[in-house]
Subunit: 281 residues, 2 copies
DNA sequence: TTAATAGTGTCTATAAGACAGTATAGA
DNA sequence: TCTATACTGTCTTATAGACACTATTAA
């Protein structure tokens, strides 16, 4: 809550967005011509940074079929230019006057991964003075959830040294450019909360998935998650009824998969329903 | 997801925050001197707008003691100057280079209400091109939760016509300046979700409160809230244990209040504990 | 004595939590 | 036949949800 206020170039406290009732000299502006934003110091850009999460699967080399190891990873790029040249950073880019921040985030995501139709969400602004050596930059943070295979194509096409996936714990220990470590930590906190309170798990799963796969995805994002009777809770408690539903085949029979096990498992899909949570009920 | 890209003044797709791996001519910038943000169009300001919520209490004029009527209200200011002169708007102001967005929101809140120590939270950025006639303005939205008495002092001191509280439904039907109607609607959605999933109710309550008061505050924000056995759920279920606790007097006896009723009610206070919610457990 | 709020008793249905047991089928 | 996953049975305790009932006390 510090409030340094000693630079000559700053806009006064009162000549603001809301001049009404505060204009010190009592002289209202009557028309657009009288308004000049350029009298004041203005930002030097509006960057959008994206934390692109994915969950990678690695088959365990056991004799029998088994569940893959799943790991939460984040896409980082290695900077070629000043500032922070050579350091790893979140992908990002400057927003344009003619687009919304979401537009610019989507553009950046497409450039970085080639995908467009993914879960992407705005979650914060970073404005600490001096955070960017290039000037006054308020950065807008997004996170995106992308399927592993969507990134696999792209990684092969890129210069390998410049764009890479890192396990989340590893990324958090790196010396990232700007305040990207903080932005990344906040993104992780966001998806951990949302993984448990919304149905974003579907962004990491195929359309049709088994209960075991769903459980693994939750675990990959929230390591402390443990629910012994998971299958029963998610499939047969009234309060959660309708979050997921059984998939049936063309004959109306329950559709199953044995991709991870000898015994075939029922396939499910998410519905549109998202339950409302409350600490009071 | 439109992406207009035909203005000459725009920064190119690739000369970005993350130039690495994308610089078309392959020529890296080596030092700060080579970098010039002013080559590109930059924002004309970074305003912060604050949705200041309060809950007003009005005594019902019954013969016996009774619960007050509580209503969720929002503070609006009437603009004196272009643009949107004379229209009602959210209080707000331009952020300075030397402060964070939170600093500028707190400064604005203090100017508007005289209070500083309140719950205030960032919840979004508004960037639709053309949303502000003064130029390229990405607005940062905060909401604040303030006690009624904190605003009462201030309202008396202000020019009465310029600053006022409006019931939330009424405010949503007004022709507000800029895109403030959308910003307000989003704020309302935010506090409705947070009222049920966090302990922000405490921002509208005295330190020590009765179950009836808590219930009323929740109702004022979330009209559809109904919980017949509320007292039992909040005081004697294991999973919610520790959200609130009984207040004891100096002798260690339960402390009670009869401010709203003949029969005295037990006083409670919030603890630090906030339960973690999950759709899967 | 009554109105208005605060709280308890009690019943049924549902859910949580623990953990042992059965089911399946490819290697 | 073994192994890894996918379930189901069963028991105890906790919670949800409904609703009738008692408690308190200033007006």
């Amino acid at each position: 809550m510090t409030e340094p206020n000693n630079l000559p170039s700053n806009r006064s406290d009162h000549a603001s967005h809301d001049e009404s009732g505060h204009e010190p000299n009592g002289k209202p502006f009557d028309e657009a011509a009288n308004y000049s934003a350029s009298r004041y110091r203005t930002p030097d850009g509006a960057p959008a940074d994206i934390v692109i999460f994915t969950i990678t699967s690695r088959e365990r080399g056991t004799a029998k079929k088994s569940l893959p190891l799943r790991q939460l990873e984040v896409l980082l790029i290695q900077r070629k230019a000043w500032p922070f040249q050579g350091q790893w950073a979140l992908p990002g880019g400057f927003s344009k006057e003619t687009e919304t921040l979401m537009d610019s985030a989507l553009r950046e995501l497409r450039e970085e991964t080639g995908v467009a139709d993914v879960h992407i969400e705005y979650y914060g602004a970073y404005s600490t003075p001096g955070r960017d050596p290039r000037g006054w930059m308020i950065s807008h943070a997004f996170f995106a959830l992308v399927h592993e295979h969507a990134l696999a194509n792209r990684r092969a096409a890129d210069d390998a040294a410049d764009v890479r996936l890192f396990p989340i714990e590893e990324a958090l220990e790196m010396n990232l450019a700007f305040d990207h470590r903080e932005i990344l930590a906040d993104a992780l906190h966001q998806i951990r909360v949302k993984m448990l309170t919304t149905t974003i798990a579907k962004s990491f799963l195929p359309e049709e998935f088994t209960i075991g796969e769903l459980y693994q995805v939750i675990e990959a994002v929230v390591p402390e998650f443990e629910e012994r009777n998971f299958i029963r809770k998610i499939t047969s408690t009234r309060s959660r009824e309708g979050i997921i539903e059984e998939v049936l085949d063309s004959k109306g029979e329950p559709k199953q998969s044995n991709r991870h096990s000898q015994r075939a498992a029922q396939l499910y899909r998410f519905t549109e329903y998202v339950p409302r949570l409350s600490i009071y009920s």
